[in-house]
């Protein structure tokens, strides 16, 4: 059998065209189209933190670490509590030892003694993933391993994350980290496995003071959603345009 170069090229082109034909039965759709094709969700999860109620006991951090299997003594955590002490000279002292896991039992902040009479104000601020409407982390993931569900939660596919750390860099809130055992990106997801089954997130369930509450913004009868709508709430770092969905009551200008 002889096969000239011209014949070879001809056959290659026609062969690849024929084999590509069945592929044309598929159409490419954008992620927005895919979302529209699915049912419009009746849920948009949000979170309400009342900083005036937080006492810094750290039960939320403990509960989160146990619930979500984040190594208990590792420095990283899905949620944490910050302590702010503003002294009368205008200085702000902030700390969060072990993410506030064990409460704030030491008066000192980084070995610095602050006299009670010097304190102008002091408070605690719990932090967690903001489940942004315009999440920077989802935008920068090169493989689509982190994605947003249609009820607003940003999730991570542990089987597909390559561990490049771009999402960790892109998050303005510093909520992301590498899971010490799984070696992939990790962060708070409002305990998606619990809220999808009618339960509260672990931190909400374990907050004895009602400082943390979960809301479904699309439910007109949701009491927490009602609070978010009617109270004067604020969000963290809105200048980044990420549209965060953790709302705060009593947020001080000093909070970073």
């Amino acid at each position: 059998m002889t096969c000239s170069r011209r014949d070879f090229l001809k056959d290659t082109v026609s062969g690849s065209l024929v084999s590509a034909l069945p592929l044309s039965a598929f159409t490419l759709i954008s992620s927005a189209e895919a979302a529209a094709a699915l049912d419009e969700s009746k849920t948009r999860w949000a979170f309400l933190v009342d900083t005036t109620k937080c006492v810094g006991c750290g039960m939320c951090v403990k509960a989160c670490k146990n619930e979500n299997e984040i190594p208990y003594d590792a420095a990283v955590t899905r949620t944490w509590v910050e302590r702010y002490v503003v002294t009368k000279d205008g200085t702000t002292h902030i700390d969060s030892p072990m993410g506030g896991r064990d409460g704030f039992i030491d008066d000192k902040i980084r070995d610095e003694e602050i006299e009670p009479e010097d304190i102008a104000k002091a408070f605690f601020v719990p932090k967690l993933c903001n489940q942004c409407d315009n999440p920077a982390c989802v935008q920068v993931c090169p493989v689509g391993a982190t994605y947003q569900t249609n009820d607003g939660i940003v999730l991570i596919d542990r089987e597909w994350c390559i561990g490049c750390g771009y999402c960790v860099m892109a998050c303005p809130y510093g909520v992301r980290f590498f899971h010490p055992e799984k070696k992939v990106a990790d962060k708070c997801n409002f305990c998606y496995h619990r809220i999808s089954n009618g339960m509260d997130p672990a931190c909400v369930e374990n907050c004895a003071f009602g400082a943390r509450r979960i809301a479904n913004l699309k439910d007109p009868d949701d009491p927490v959603a009602h609070l978010i709508r009617t109270e004067r709430v604020s969000v963290l770092k809105d200048e980044y345009g990420t549209k965060p969905h953790v709302f705060y009551i009593g947020l001080d200008a000093e909070v970073r």
């Binding site: 750390g165 771009y166 070696k183 992939v184």
Partner: protein, 417 residues
């Protein structure tokens, strides 16, 4: 202790004042190496294109060398990324399921396009040589020669036509590819700048100037490395000629070398001025607009990182080599010193961007210091330590040594003339 899982970054991050609990230096030395090596690739290619496209005839010899050298550098641009991934076995995923809103997703496509351009340009430039080798080796006996001939036969891809017409077509193709290659090389590196410049969460990185600054410093470093390697190789050749008793031939090599180096040095200076001007513009603009982040940026740039930025990068890495190259009665020795300093300066620029960008907390209330692991005690401290970086630096020279055995980029009478 061994069972305790290690938090990534905790081994080389030292925190000061208030830093969020999850913040560490996640992007360490390998992410410094990545733009550095990519920059060298892009710069080497641009230098070779100055001859192929713009007909800078006096750059001919260094142009062929830098074209082949950019091929040797190419795989090494991807190596740091591989070493840095937490899941290196999933490295192909950005090609399999690219998520195109991410700057990194384009890497596979840009990188592959660029690799194809470099490979095909080299093929067109050296095709005649491959054919000649196939015929020349036919006469020689022995297994090594037969194997070598086999390699060259594969390299020709069956195109044995070396008539004047065919060679003309080759030359034209090489020129067209070099011309396409310039924007692609700039894109390859400009987009590395975009990866950083588009991170809105990072006050130091976020700047539309970042890609342009990256391209300029890339060309500077690429030209410097090509010049340096070229000088070393030519000096070695001249030295061998002299030892063999060929003082005349050695003198000839040196004469040609000096001419090329002084021409290439002019381009180097031009790009160096452009790079410094852009960086200064960026710095002045940040200070003048004094956004919320300026307080912490200033304390990092003028305080904690002053030595790294102003002494090592701008002073030793830019100003000193600039003076060394521009002052009259430039000697070869002075040029070598200047080139080494230029390469060091560009490395410090990458360092100050990547590590400097993580030197302060997202809370703007604390700092992080990077202590590069020297003696590795685990795979991670090897990969993201001094030895990991040295591995990356050494690889292109090793690759060049192999490639140059088949594609002699340093023959003084090579093709394309």
């Amino acid at each position: 202790m061994l069972d305790e899982p290690v938090v990534h970054g905790i081994e080389w991050t030292i925190k000061e004042l208030f830093v969020y609990p999850n913040e560490f230096i996640y992007w360490s030395i390998q992410i410094v190496m990545y733009p550095y090596m990519t920059g060298l690739v892009a710069g080497a290619f641009v230098l070779s294109s100055l001859y192929h496209v713009f007909g800078q005839k006096d750059l001919k010899e260094i142009a062929q060398f830098s074209l082949v050298f950019s091929l040797a550098l190419l795989p090494v641009a991807a190596l740091p990324l591989l070493l840095h991934l937490q899941q290196p076995t999933r490295a192909m995923e950005p090609l399999l399921t690219p998520h195109f809103t991410s700057a990194i997703a384009a890497f596979g496509i840009v990188f592959t396009t660029y690799a194809l351009i470099v490979l095909s340009e080299i093929w067109f430039v050296y095709r005649k040589y491959f054919v000649e080798q196939v015929y020349a080796l036919k006469e020689k006996a022995g297994l090594p020669n037969a194997m070598k001939r086999m390699v060259y036969r594969v390299l020709t891809i069956g195109a044995y036509d070396v008539s004047d017409g065919a060679i003309k077509v080759d030359k034209k193709a090489a020129t067209v590819l070099a011309a396409i290659g310039i924007p692609v090389a700039c894109f390859l590196h400009g987009y590395a700048g975009f990866i950083f410049g588009s991170v809105k969460a990072n006050a130091l990185w976020m700047s539309p100037l970042m890609p342009v600054i990256f391209i300029m410093s890339a060309v500077v470093s690429g030209i410097a490395l090509c010049m340096l390697t070229y000088i070393v190789i030519m000096e070695w050749k001249a030295f061998r000629q002299r030892r063999a008793g060929g003082a005349l031939a050695a003198g000839e090599i040196k004469g040609a070398e000096e001419e090329i180096i002084s021409k290439a040095a002019k381009y180097l200076l031009g790009f160096l001025v452009a790079a410094i001007s852009l960086e200064m513009l960026d710095l002045i603009f940040r200070g003048y607009t004094a956004m919320k982040s300026w307080d912490i940026l200033r304390s990092v740039m003028y305080g904690k990182d002053f030595l790294n930025i102003f002494v090592l990068q701008y002073g030793l890495g830019n100003l000193v080599p600039f003076a060394l190259l521009i002052l009259p009665r430039r000697t070869l020795f002075r040029t070598v010193i200047a080139l080494v300093l230029v390469l060091f300066g560009v490395f410090m620029m990458r360092w100050n961007v990547v590590i400097g960008g993580q030197a302060f907390s997202l809370s703007f209330s604390g700092y992080m210091h990077y202590e590069i692991p020297v003696i590795p005690h685990s795979l991670e401290t090897f990969k993201e330590g001094v030895f990991g970086a040295l591995t990356v630096i050494a690889t292109p020279f090793f690759l060049f040594w192999i490639i140059n055995k088949f594609v002699p980029s340093l023959r003084r009478d090579s093709e394309g003339s």
